[in-house]
Structure formats: C-alpha cells, structure tokens
C-alpha cells in the first residue's frame, strides 16, 4: 500500500474534483539538534520525509516506512520514535535529535566511538537508528544489563551483524560514560 492510500482523507481535490496530491502546507517551528529549525510541510508528510527531503538530514534511513525496522529512529523530546510514523506537523514546538547531532565539536559520542572500535556495523544502514536508540537508553539507564540492551534495541533490525558486536559496543559505551 502506498503512502497516499494509507491516508485517503488527506488527499486534496482540485477544482475539477480530481485528486490533487499537492496539498496546502503547514508552517512548523521546531528544534533539531539544538538548533531552531522551520519548515513547511504537507499534512501527510512524515517526520522522516521532512528530515530527509526538506531539512536534508539524511542520517535517518527508510527501511520499511511502517515502523518495523527502526532505521529512521530519532529522539522526539528525548523519546526514541520511528520518524516514519510521526507526522511532520507533530514536530511543532518539539525538540528533535538525530544521528547528525550526536558528535559534538569534532568529537564522536562514546557510542559512535565504541561502534567503530568494536566493529559494530557492517553495511551501516541500520547504524544511525541503533545509535539513537542506544543513546536514549543510556541517557535513561546508564547501567543497563545485557537484557536491558537487547530489549531496548529490539526496536531496530540489523541483518548484518547478528547483534553481538552492537550489544557489546553499547556495553562498552556505558562503561566509558560511567567513567567520565
């Protein structure tokens, strides 16, 4: 099913009564990676589409467009969400964090560093989603058990690694963050 078919009521019609997929746009003010951001979006547009196509933040990936794979995970007011399941207009007044915001002042976040050193990525398409989900976990629970990590990361699919090195990288990052 295409995106439009999923939301038939959002289709606008033109003066001839034909479906007109170019709908009226809404102005949205939000914060992305601690910087103010404004954009115009159609009511049917997902936050993922806005991030990737309008704000040109292509770190979040589309793997399924129905909330199953987690490759598009971003933080919405500190909560990890599948940005393909959030509408762009819902970002009004919110604070959004994406993978692009994790490294600061030329330094990788410990999670990013541990993913690199622990070879926790192969093709890399799922990596941004895993990093964002893992950051949300460690922000909330700095000393997660292996089960806590596996439970939280179960929102994100990886087909290359078998998860072993991802889980270990999160464990390592937790240790590093605790030592800081």
């Amino acid at each position: 099913m295409g995106r439009l078919e999923a939301y038939p009521t959002l289709l606008q019609t033109n003066h001839l009564g034909q479906a007109n997929p170019v709908a009226k746009k809404t102005h949205v003010s939000t914060t992305v990676n601690n910087e103010p951001a404004e954009f115009l979006c159609e009511p049917r547009e997902s936050l993922l589409e806005v991030l990737r196509d309008t704000l040109k933040l292509t770190g979040a990936k589309e793997g399924c467009n129905n909330g199953n794979c987690g490759a598009c995970t971003v933080l919405l007011n500190d909560v990890p969400v599948n940005s393909c399941l959030v509408l762009g207009v819902e970002a009004e007044g919110a604070s959004i964090e994406t993978v692009e915001g994790m490294a600061c002042e030329g330094h990788l976040h410990p999670l990013q560093q541990c993913f690199l050193e622990g070879a926790a990525l192969q093709c890399g398409i799922c990596t941004p989603g895993f990093l964002v989900t893992a950051k949300a976990l460690l922000d909330k629970n700095p000393t997660p058990s292996e089960h806590d990590i596996r439970f939280n990361l179960a929102n994100n699919l990886c087909r290359c690694t078998g998860y072993d090195k991802i889980v270990k990288a999160v464990q390592e990052a937790a240790k590093e963050l605790a030592a800081k």
Binding site: T58, L116, Y163
Partner: protein, 756 residues
C-alpha cells in the same frame, strides 16, 4: 609464488590480524555516508512501479492516459518499451548465465505476469506523491491464470505452466513436453548400489524448506540520468557496479562505454543485489523525460518483487559401516527458481555431500519454476537447504552407531585429496581443524542441564570464487597511499583490502586511503559475492603493493644514484650502502627531487574456487506449551585461512549465524490459495531481533589457503550454512523429535510435541 612457508599460519604479519577502525567508519556512525536514497540531483524526478496483484495472469491492456494527464507526471513506461531482445545471455556471477529476455521481463513484464508483485509499468513525476497518485490511475486489465508455489506441485505433469516454450534440459538433452522443470543435473561417483550393499546402517529422510528473503534493511533504490549526449549514468545500490553496467547495457542495447555505474554505499545485499530491477527502468523513464529519475522500493515491494532464496524439497540417503565409515550417499534435490529459469540448484547439488568422503554418491538436482519472485543468491546460495538435509542424516547415523557426532564427522571428514561428488579434488582445507576446535571448545566441553534442553552440532561448506579484480593507487608525498578498487563494499572490505596493501608495503592500515571507484574510474572488477572480495581483490591489492614497491625502489635508486637492484626493502624500509629511508621518508623526497610520481595498478583473475568450512554448536530450550525454541548458547567455528581483520571475520560468522537462526526458527513466505504472499512486511516476516538471540561465540581457525600469498580464504557465506541443521539437531536432542521442515516455527514444534 611460493606459499610453503605460509602453511599453518607460520608466517607473522604486522598489519594482518590487527583490528583497525574501518576507513569509512566515521561517515557511517555520523549519518554522513551517502547511500543511493540520500542522493539529491538537480531537477530530479521521482518514480513508482506499478505491480501485479495476481500471481499468474495475462496482461490484456494497460491504460496509462489518465496518469499521463495528471499535472506533474513526466513519463510512463511499460514492458513494451524494451528494445527487441533476442535470446541473449549475460553472466551474472553466482546466479550463472541469465537470459536477457527473462531479465527484462522480470524488471517490467511483457504480455504476462508470473508472480504477485511483478512490475508491469513505471511512472515518473515531479514529486513522489504525484508519482504515487499517477500509479493509482494506471489501470491494468488481467486475465487470471492458475498458479503454483510449491516446488513438487510445480513439477507435476498437470501443473500450471509458467513458460510455454520451456523444455527440460536434462544434462544437455532437451525434453519434448511443456514443463516447469528447467534443468535436471546429475553428479555421480563410484557405484551407489555397491556402496549401499556394504552399509550396515542406512538412513533416508525427506526435508522441506520454505522460501526466505535476504532481508537487507535498505530497500532497492536507483537513480538514472540518460543524458542528451546518450551517456547513461546510474547511481545505485548494487553488489557489482560492472555487472550492473553489463546488464543495463545489454537490456537497453547501448554499448558499455555509454554507461557509467556509480556504486553508492550499500545497505546490505547478501546476494540479492546482483541482478538489476530498478536500474534499467529508471533509465527508460529518464530517457523519456530528460531528467534524472529516482526509483525506490517500499518494503512490501522488496519482499514481493525481489529475490527470495528457493523453497526446496530434498531426499537424502546415506549408508555407513558399523565402524562409522560412510559407504554411499544419494540425494534428490528440487529447488524452485521462482518465475524464471536459473536458480541455485547447481551449488546446492555440489554442496550437499561436500563435507565428507563419499566413495559412492549420486546427486540429482532439479531447477523448477513456480509463481514466486525469481530466486536470487542468498549467502551460500543453495547450500543451507542441502546442509539442513545432509547434516541431520549424519546426526541420526552417528546416534544409531552410538558414536559421538564429532568423532563420526572426523572419521569421514573431507580433507586434502577428497574428491567432491561434482568432480573437484580438495587442496589443503581446514574442515578437520574446525571439528577439532569444536571438540576443544568451552561450549562443547560445558555441561548442559535442565528440562527440554538439548545441544546440536552441524557443519557446512561453501566455495570462495575467484574472478577478475582491479585496483590502482598513488603514493602521496606524506607517505599515504590512495587506493581505488572496484569491489563495492558491503561490510568492511575497503579495510580488508587496504590492509593487504599496507602489509605488502610495510605501512599501516591507516596510511592507506581506500575508495570504491565507479566503472569509469577503475578496471573491471567482478561483483561482491561468492566470498571473493577479501580473497581476490585482496590478491590484486597484494600485486599492486609489489608494483608500488618496485617503483619506490627505483625512486630510491635515483635518489642515491645506485642501481635499482642495489636497493633492499624490508618491512617498508628502503636501504642501500648504509643509507636508509622509510616508505614515508622516501615518499616525501620524491617531489623535491623532481622524480616521477608513483602510481601503480594491478589486476588479477584467479580461477577455480578455494574452500571454506565451518562447524557450529547450539544449545536450545524448547517450550512445550508454546513450541517456541530459545537459543541458549551458540558457537560458530570457521576456517578463515588468514583472518585479515578478525573483528570483521567474527562479524561475518555472527551475522551469518543469526540469519541462519532466523531461517531455522521463523522466517518464511506465507502464500494464500491464490499464491499471493501474505506477510510482506518486517513485522509479519519476523527476522531475528536482538532479543531473539544470545551472544554468538566465535572461534577462528587459520589453515592458510594455498592459492593466496597471505593464505586468505573468503569467509562471508559459510556461516549461514550450518545453523538450520545445528538448531534442528539441538531440538532433536531436547525433544527426541526430528524436524524435517523449515522453519521450525512455534506452531509446527508445538503441534509435533503435543501429538508426540
């Protein structure tokens, strides 16, 4: 090249065996890496594919006028837009030779659709929303035909026929009747009747496996720009940029010189991104509208329209003497190939008995069409289904003989000199070493206690193919080396190839800056598949290193005014008559001394196949209330030859194991009575998540490959071969029941346990 001194890992290395951070790592953990879907080109149009809702139907008409009238729609194409393709063939790596007429029809159907999700038309528009709306306005009229999705049903004489012109090719002889059986192959050695006569114990079992998908997280996506000068540029997610160029050029009947393929980062492939789907269609749309066109699939299109691996049926019979010696084996394998001929029965038939000495053996294999997407390679294509069958029979025989399953395997293990049933004789291989490592592992020695628990073991084999690889490099004045290679990088091969160049030159891995070139920037390189890149492109990098080293010697000689032969090189240090310079120091002197820049290149095309063996151990707990199988502990053991970057070797073993566990326990295509896939989403297809599996322990065995200077073997595919059999053997140990059908999903396990 002399390789004697490499045997059994005697040689020590300074770069190989280290675990440097991968060169493309920072891009990939910060969201900067550019995958095809991240591309934004000026004036780029967006496309959508219109797909068949029916599994088998004649296309009576395609009505496009309404779509073309929608404002913003730029172009519509259908199967009628293909050039006239005679019966032409292209070589497509592991998938073998492909009929271009079939390949074109698979990308955009002409006349008839043969599976649900088969592409029938494509539209390009100024935005994706308009393209989607236009797609809804394209009306296709179908005449529905009967369909079939199970391989044995498709072989019946009264089965619905997919390709009326198809006749069975049975070892070179063409059949006379319409059929869905595309090919019948047979391998034979010795005399099986005699062999079974010598046997004291014979076990014969039947096995069935469901279709499963490669499950890469990145859907297929391509951008094409067919320019007014007739040059066609394609950015795409592909496992082989040159293979893609060849397919596109032949499908569109333009010379390869007019096509350039730019491989973007690839979000997984596992064999499923070798054939083209979107590339030539995006090109047709681009030619029509004069703009770059991006075509991408939604997840349901990936499941319904791209390559699963075959559903299969296998009957395997093995005879042994009381002392455990195998006397004979017979296998009858039928694999479906989906809607077009040319599946993976060949490697399946080669692999079924490949782990053991079979003095007498016969294998029959059938390639069978049915109404599913055309099957594609999936990590050791064909071998996992075969191992699921053979390794369970082996397990049962060992139990009948009251022999330890590792001892039984050791008694019959393939080794140097063993002749595989399809002909080749093994050079030095490391199967026995993996079995011994299993025997000595913590896992095997540990005690497993508790109700409903069991431990299983199984082995597997896969080839590492050779094929052409090219690379080139230049030495910078800071002593770094810029490497351009043609192998698209799916899982860290930039680094494993760069490390082999660094080892050859005596510099560090970080001194090499590898990049993957497009088809205009590097020499021909065969696809990323067949576990070949670290082996074959690594071999090219080694040769390239020798070329650079020779040139560096010449520069040192010019600097010191001596003969080149008087310059000695050791561990990256160049010396002559008491003078000495490191690689870096020498590189720094080249511009100042006005010496020629150092630019090197190498290409190789190693023939034949080297061999990778693995043995896996698994502990399971079976819940009798629900039929759910939990993996408690899992260990993968594999001969890697020389593990170039051990972390990424482990990663291949762990990733392959978990894909195999998914195949064993959950994954399958469900079809309704109209042959339509009913679970075309990640939620319903249900691949393993982090919560479904434990840590995957790994043991790397290093028995150097005699046909590589560093002893490297490919490692990518073997790890998916043993898991379903390993898990099945473990479930048998836990329950006493033999599961002969994949997946061993909770409903099946529960049913078997509750009727026990």
């Amino acid at each position: 090249m002399s390789t004697e001194d490499l045997y059994l890992g005697k040689k020590s290395y300074s770069v190989l065996g280290q675990r440097p951070v991968r060169h493309d790592g920072a891009d990939k953990v910060t969201g900067k890496a550019v995958y095809t879907s991240d591309l934004q080109l000026p004036n780029m149009a967006q496309g959508r594919i219109i797909r068949s809702p029916h599994a088998h139907a004649k296309i009576k008409s395609i009505y496009t006028a309404a779509a073309l009238k929608l404002p913003g729609v730029l172009a519509v194409v259908t199967g009628e837009d293909w050039p006239n393709l005679e019966e032409k063939f292209a070589i497509m790596g592991e998938a073998g030779a492909v009929n271009l007429h079939h390949l074109a029809n698979n990308c955009l159907a002409k006349g008839k659709v043969v599976y649900k999700g088969h592409a029938v038309a494509a539209v390009a528009a100024t935005t994706l929303a308009i393209a989607e709306e236009a797609a809804r306005l394209i009306k296709v009229e179908y005449e529905i035909l009967p369909s079939v999705t199970w391989v044995l049903d498709a072989m019946k004489p009264d089965a619905p026929i997919l390709l009326p012109s198809l006749r069975t090719d049975s070892m070179g002889k063409k059949g006379t009747e319409p059929t869905n059986i595309a090919t019948h192959i047979q391998f034979e050695q010795g005399n099986i009747a005699e062999g079974f006569k010598q046997a004291d114990v014979i076990v014969e079992r039947e096995f069935r496996t469901a279709s499963v998908h490669q499950g890469y997280i990145e859907p297929h996506v391509s951008v094409a720009l067919w320019n007014e000068d007739n040059r066609l540029k394609i950015w795409t997610s592909t496992q082989g940029s040159f293979n893609c160029r060849q397919q596109v050029s032949e499908l569109l009947q333009v010379p390869v010189s007019q096509v350039v393929v730019v491989p973007c980062e690839i979000g997984g492939g596992f064999g499923g991104k070798i054939t083209v789907y979107l590339e030539p269609v995006a090109a047709l749309l681009s030619r029509r509208c004069g703009r770059p066109v991006k075509l991408s699939m939604q997840r349901n299109e990936v499941f319904e329209g791209t390559g699963p691996t075959p559903g299969s049926y296998a009957k395997v019979k093995i005879g042994v003497k009381k002392d455990g010696t195998i006397t004979a084996g017979e296998a009858w394998l039928a694999y479906d190939c989906g809607a077009f001929p040319g599946g993976v029965i060949g490697p399946g038939a080669m692999c079924v008995f490949s782990c053991y000495e079979f003095p007498n053996a016969k294998v029959d294999g059938y390639d069978v069409l049915d109404n599913k997407p055309h099957t594609q390679a999936y990590r050791a294509p064909g071998a996992t289904q075969a191992a699921f069958a053979c390794e369970q029979v082996i397990d049962e025989l060992a139990a009948k003989l009251k022999m330890d399953p590792i001892e039984f395997r050791l008694k019959n293990a393939a080794k140097e000199g063993t002749r595989r049933v399809d002909g080749p004789v093994y050079p030095r291989v490391g199967f026995i070493e993996t079995l011994k490592a299993a025997q000595n592992s913590d896992h095997w020695k540990s005690k497993l206690t508790g109700k409903n628990r069991g431990r299983g073991i199984a082995s597997g084999f896969w080839f590492n193919i050779g094929g052409a690889s090219s690379c080139s490099a230049s030495v910078n004045d800071d002593g770094s080396v810029t490497l351009v290679e043609g192998s698209t990088d799916i899982g860290g091969t930039r680094t494993s190839v760069a490390m082999q160049l660094a080892e050859t030159l005596g510099i560090t891995a970080q001194d090499v800056r590898p990049q993957v070139g497009d088809t205009d920037s590097v020499g021909y390189t065969f696809l990323t598949g067949g576990s070949r890149v670290t082996f074959a492109t690594g071999l090219a990098a080694y040769k390239l290193g020798l070329d650079l080293q020779e040139q560096m010697k010449q520069r040192a000689a010019a600097l010191w005014d001596v003969e080149s032969a008087a310059v000695k090189v050791e561990n990256g240090k160049y010396s002559s008559n008491g003078k000495s310079l490191t690689f870096k120091e020498l590189a720094g002197k080249i511009p100042g001394a006005k010496l020629d820049p150092v630019v090197g290149r190498a290409s190789v095309s190693p023939e034949g196949s080297t061999n990778g063996f693995g043995t896996h151990i698994c502990d399971v707990e079976v819940d009798p209330e629900t039929g759910k199988v939990t993996i408690l502990r899992y260990t993968a053991i594999q001969d890697a030859g020389k593990a170039v970057h051990p972390s990424y070797v482990e990663g291949q073993m762990q990733g392959g194991s978990v894909q195999g566990i998914g195949w064993a326990l959950n994954e399958e295509y469900f079809f309704d009575d109209q042959s339509r896939m009913k679970n075309a989403s990640f939620l319903d297809y249900r691949m393993p998540t982090s919560l479904d599996v434990p840590m995957i322990e790994t043991i790397i065995v290093e028995v150097p490959n005699p046909s590589h200077p560093f002893g490297v073997r490919g490692v990518g595919e073997t790890p998916i071969v043993p898991p379903p059999a390993t898990v099945a053997n473990a479930i048998h140990a836990a329950t006493g029941l033999r599961f002969t059908e994949l997946p061993m999903s909770p409903p099946k396990v529960w049913k078997a346990l509750s009727t026990k």
